[in-house]
Amino acid sequence: MSETRAWQDVTSLVCRWAVAGVFLYACIDKIIDPAAFAQNIDNYRMVPLVLLHPFAWLLPIAELVIAIALIVGWQTRGAALLASLLTVVFIIAIATALIRDLDISCGCFHTDSGSTVGRDLLLRDLVLLAGALVPVWLGPGRWSLDRWRGIEGVRAGTLQNP
């Protein structure tokens, strides 16, 4: 295994787990109290009322599914792509709230209180976006279910050796 490849594997693993940790931590409060999270979303005044509850219900579950997929390295590139897209949505929400001078709680990790929307949150989400894009670019890496499934698939003849 070349040294470059080893570094890519380590980098992918670290970014996968870091992003997964953030998503996992972020989804807990939202899953426990979806009504409070719906209120958080409503404060942004971006989501139409008719979509508010489905959005508040599904978003934390999406975060949970993405986090689990990134931790075990299953459908890794797809999970990282979804994590990146969600983070872009968060960045747009925060940026528009800043432009409109909304003084609201971000609803990022805690539904009852938490960070007020500000430039520091924008910066934090940009870092998160960079971290989520790394597995999209580098792939799942050595320590992932995807790689194990690939090897097993080739051995069993259900997958073609690339």
Binding site: A35, A38, T76, R77, D103
Partner: protein, 152 residues
């Protein structure tokens, strides 16, 4: 990669529907139109109407922000805050009469403004409106602020 993402989206939808069916505290599919409205003691006035009212001089503006100062308020506004309501009102009483139409404003959160409105009502002030959006929206809409006028 797109296929992988679609698989995860499908899992999310299945898990979402499944958890929605089994959880006793599930949200209604569509919230009632008033579910996320704040229950305020006085009616709201839109930002546009408040700006028009300011231009015509019909209303007295009351700044309820906890950190309000005269040089960061709407020009001509009186400062009456929850924390020091009695003292603030005593200072403004010579100028603000119970029959005057008032427009109360604060930050984006309308609940503290509603609290001050309720206190005004308890003192006999009946013609009260609460400005939508708060001072930040007022500023964003081009409404004048004392300090900014001084700066220019």
């Amino acid at each position: 990669m797109i296929r992988e993402a679609l698989i995860l989206v499908a899992i999310t939808l299945v898990a979402g529907v499944g958890s929605w069916l089994v959880r006793p505290d599930r949200l209604t599919l569509t919230p009632s139109p008033t579910a996320y409205e704040v229950d305020l003691p006085a009616p709201l006035i839109s930002l546009d109407d408040a700006l028009a009212s300011y231009e015509s001089g019909e209303h007295v503006f009351i700044d309820t922000r906890p950190d309000a100062t005269l040089d960061t308020a709407i020009p001509g506004a009186f400062i009456v805050r929850t924390e020091s309501f009695g003292d603030d009102l005593a200072r403004a009483m010579d100028f603000v009469y119970p029959e005057d139409p008032l427009i109360l404003y604060g930050e984006d959160d309308l609940l503290p403004v509603g609290d001050v409105a309720a206190r005004f009502q308890a003192r006999g002030y009946e013609n009260i409106r609460i400005m939508e959006g708060g001072l930040a929206s007022w500023r964003h809409a081009g409404g004048p602020i004392d300090g900014e006028l001084t700066d220019e």
